[in-house]
Amino acid sequence: MSKDSKNGGISRRKFLQGVGSGIIGTYVLTPTIASASEKLTKNAEKLKLTVPVSMTVNGKGVHLQIEPQTTLVEVLRNQLGLTGTKVTCNNGECGGCTVLMDNKAVYSCHILALDCAGKEITTIEGLMTGEKLHPIQEAFIEHDGLQCGFCTPGQIMAAQALLLNNPKPSRQEVLEGMSGNICRCAAYPSIIESVLAAAEKTSGSTTTMK
């Protein structure tokens, strides 16, 4: 999976241009919002203006008032209290903050919350049903796909995105699908086994384990 597709089609370059020039400055949320003028943006920043944004997070509609430069991970953690999503590099390099946007894995440190208007966001908290773990989460416990656990929510969300797109990945496809997520403890062999085992569980049929 390339970084671009991981980021839901927003390339790193485009995103940085967006951040650099600032985005927004209007109270009306439209899909063209990302092209709002630089001047308005600067004014908005100077005046500390906030703008409304609505999205669906873990199946529930949320309506927020945010500063335009706020990233998705900041909204999730600071405004919604969803601290399962971690910040490790805050630079689109490690996958620690991976969540799903319309069922595709994105780096939430790397997405402006405004760009999530109308989107469906799923975080690690949304993978569960009440207190019941998702089969991928269970597989990560069973196969010990974690050590310190800090990158684990991001790993699991990347695995979920992978399996949604490819329910029976080969080992090589798992390596490719999970390569945007760094685990400094390097629990990688167990992460690979966890994802393969989860695939077997969720796809309901046998897949090649090795």
Partner: protein, 766 residues
């Protein structure tokens, strides 16, 4: 069970620690080899797995308190300067800024052994602390940093340790750049005579790079006061060390400082000491009367949070024709950055093999860069790479199989002290590891492979302390419903501590794991345990937990004997029930015992016993690597690592395997990928994010096979455990480098073995 105070010693990250410690008066019979255990050693899934996979685990980074505020550190933008003035007026005026701490308004609190202060007027590396802003939000604090105007008088700087050692080099502090103004030296026998008497000698210089810990969870603290009592949530490997540093820095009683660490996102040694940020957060929090959260960002992590020092090691070996080592010498230096630390790395050379004549001389050099800190097997990782490369070179010169050379120089006693090891199964590790990698069948003469892709096999040995020792204590609280609460002031870094301590409790008291709750990392509720580093945690804490659990069992038996009016020797304990041996129908449960005692909770505290006198405690192992080198691109791919280790008893096979995976992959990344790059003309670190600093990804995972050659080391402690965190990483780079040599017939003597070095070496050979 009675306790007594004795003198005991153990080796930690920083060398020999002699301590007076409270230990059990009578040692429990150890779980030696052959002891059948029901749950200890089994691959039990982590008890904290649910919290971690659900995102519910609250790391320090996630602590949110009512009225919390956010602090950010301003760090020096230059490698060496005197601060002439700091103007914070613009930043002070920014709405939302609550307080700015600088050297102007902060008490002069000594830091780094008094070589600097919390805020110093001299900054000695790019990233040194200059000011700290606390604000309503992180964004405001960040913005305020840009409004602080610092006037620097820049000073000459030096970043290369070779240059820093010269007499005319810029001085990092007023004094000389060599720590202690002299090398640390060691010698036994007569090394010059040894070399003269050798049939063969080999000497060369090997070097290693600086690598950065980069744990996923940034260094962070949250400080909150209630009147004169301070609570600090800290991402730390040593809650009591952090407590003591904060209490001392703020001149307050240790009893009024509580440090809590529940979950932490890795440390690898970088979180063994209190950070300046923890103390600063506490000061700011006191002044503004609100909780303060501070977290370093990834750039700060790469500038200021520590690193493994580099090394340049000039080594020489002398041997007889049959491979018997006669003399070894090492002269080396390493870059420790701007504040005192050690860069010694000669222990493997001094202790891995039998050799009568050894001399080492090592320089720890100050430069204008972020300070080095203990990093997973400090010294041993860089030392083992160089020394085991030298051993391979020597074997080649002798025309010997490198594995045979190592076996030839096996020693049963510690070559420095002459004391025997409590256990040493390295020969088994050689045998089983060689078999698993296919040493005899697959290994070809060095450089004999032709074609684009060339495979090679290499190996390296490992020695580490990791036997642990006292003091370490554990309190068990047994409730009337026979559920147990285990408390120990140690830390789980992702190593599985919560789980294996519960397993030990479950083993002894025969209580199911579901009824056991483990609390770690809280200086207020837990008894003292030491830092979690140096592979000390499991061997230090597990015997204390067993001691506490066995005491609880004895307490229950004692109570049952009183209630059932029979001798203690007539009571059998099984699965939370006590019955009379001569009348098994007479049975009472834990609940009944506690009820009869008119109590709700029974409490015992166990202690780690003293280490045995007259022995050395070490872990041993060997790793075997198979690599493939692409001679067109220069890229090295690790195909397989076989890790065969003597680590005493395994407490949990699942978490053990994961620890080994982590150590080996970190070791492989050290061999091939990771390197901090510095621009020596500006003193700037160029690799301050994890795109430029190359961390391994899942795609860098080789096949890993783990062989544990030990069952238990009953001489060390009642659980027979040695630590495993460091052994896993120590020999990996050496084994890979030797495999690369075997593939190419060319020795890459400097880590990391990057494609450019491989291609350069290949072109020089042509």
């Amino acid at each position: 069970m009675a306790h007594k105070i004795v003198k005991s010693r153990y080796f930690g990250d920083e060398g020999l620690i002699e301590t007076m410690a409270e230990v059990p008066a009578d040692k429990l019979k150890a779980w030696g080899p052959g002891t059948e255990l029901k749950i200890v050693g089994k691959p039990v899934s982590r008890l904290d797995g649910y919290e971690k996979v659900s995102g519910r685990a609250v790391f320090t980074f996630d602590v949110i308190l009512p009225r919390m505020t956010y602090a950010k550190m301003l760090r020096a933008s230059v490698p060496h300067a005197r601060i002439k003035n700091i103007d914070t007026s613009k930043a002070d005026d920014l709405p939302g800024v609550l307080k700015i701490l600088t050297l102007k308004n902060c008490p002069k609190i000594p830091w780094h052994w008094g070589t600097t202060a919390l805020f110093d007027e001299e900054v000695r590396y790019e990233g040194d602390e200059v000011a700290c802003v606390v604000a309503e939000t992180g964004q405001i604090a960040e913005e305020a940093l840009g409004l602080i105007n610092v006037q620097y008088e820049t000073l000459p700087f030096v970043t290369d340790p070779a240059l820093a050692m010269k007499t005319d080099a810029p001085k990092v502090h007023g004094w000389g750049n060599i720590i202690d103004e002299k090398p640390s030296v060691y010698s036994r026998g007569d090394v010059e005579k040894g070399f003269r008497e050798s049939d063969v000698t080999f000497e060369d210089t090997y070097s290693t790079q600086i690598v950065v810990h980069n744990p996923t969870e940034p260094h962070c603290s949250v400080a909150a006061w209630e009147n004169d009592k301070l609570t600090v949530w800290d991402s730390t490997q040593a809650v009591f060390a952090v407590r003591d540093t904060i209490a001392k820095s703020l001149s307050m009683p240790e009893s009024k400082v509580r440090v809590i660490k529940k979950y932490m996102g890795g440390g690898f040694g970088s979180k063994l000491e209190a950070g300046k940020y923890s103390v600063i957060a506490a000061i700011l929090s006191k002044e503004i009367g609100r909780p303060v959260r501070i977290a370093l960002d990834r750039k700060e992590m790469n500038l200021s949070a520590g690193n493994r020092p580099d090394s340049v090691q000039k080594l020489k070996a002398g041997a007889r024709k049959d491979g018997t080592l006669v003399a070894l010498s090492q002269s080396s230096y390493g870059n420790v950055g701007a504040y005192p630390n050690g860069a010694d790395c000669s222990t493997p050379l001094r202790t891995l093999y039998k050799c009568p004549n050894v001399q080492t001389e090592e320089y720890s050099v100050l430069t204008n860069l972020g300070r080095s800190r203990a990093y997973r097997a400090p010294g041993h990782v860089q030392g083992t790479f160089a020394f085991e490369s030298l051993m391979d070179d020597l074997a080649e010169k002798l025309g010997m199989d490198p594995l045979e050379l190592r076996k030839k120089n096996f020693t049963e006693v510690d070559p420095e002290s002459g004391r025997p090891y409590t256990s040493k199964r390295i020969l088994d590790a050689y045998l089983q590891g060689a078999k698993a990698i296919g040493w005899n069948e697959k290994r070809k003469p060095a450089g004999s492979e032709k074609g684009r892709f060339r495979r090679g096999i290499g190996m390296a040995s490992q020695i580490w302390w990791g036997g642990g020792g006292p003091p370490a204590y554990c309190t068990i609280k047994l409730n009337q419903d026979a559920s147990a609460h285990v408390l120990a002031g140690t830390q789980d870094l992702g190593t599985g501590t919560y789980t294996y301590l519960a397993q030990i409790t479950s083993e002894v008291l025969e209580i199911p794991l579901e009824k056991i709750q483990v609390t770690l990392g809280d200086t207020e509720t837990c008894p003292y345990c030491g830092l979690s580093g140096g592979s000390l945690t499991a061997p230090s804490v597990s015997p204390a937990v067993r001691d506490a659990a066995e005491q609880m069992k004895m307490k229950l038996i004692s109570a049952a004997s009183a209630i059932l009016e029979t001798a203690e020797s007539n009571i059998k304990y099984s699965e939370g029930k006590m019955s009379k041996l001569d009348d098994p129908a007479k049975t009472i449960t834990v609940s009944e015992v506690i009820g009869e005692m008119h109590e709700r909770v029974l409490v015992t505290t166990g202690a780690r016993e003293a280490n045995p006198e007259g022995y050395e405690i070490n872990s041993f192992g060997a790793q075997f690597a198979e690599v493939e080198v692409d001679t067109w691109t220069g890229k090295v791919r690790v195909i397989k690592i076989v890790a065969a280790h003597d680590i005493g008893r395994v407490l949990n096979h699942k978490t053990l395997l994961n620890q080994f995976h982590g150590g080996i992959i970190q070791g492989a990344a050290y061999a091939l990928l990771e390197e901090r790059v510095v621009d020596e003309y500006t003193g700037k670190v160029l690799t301050t994010n994890i795109h430029d600093y190359k961390l391994p990804t899942v795609q860098d995972t080789p096949e890993i096979e783990l062989i544990v050659v030990s069952e238990s080391d009953p001489l060390i402690s009642n659980t027979g455990v040695k630590g495993i965190g460091e052994p896993a990483i120590i020999p990996t780079a050496g084994a890979i480098a030797n495999a690369v040599y075997n593939a190419l017939g060319i020795r890459i003597k400097s880590l990391p073995i990057t494609p450019d070095k491989v291609l350069m070496a290949l072109s020089e050979k042509i």
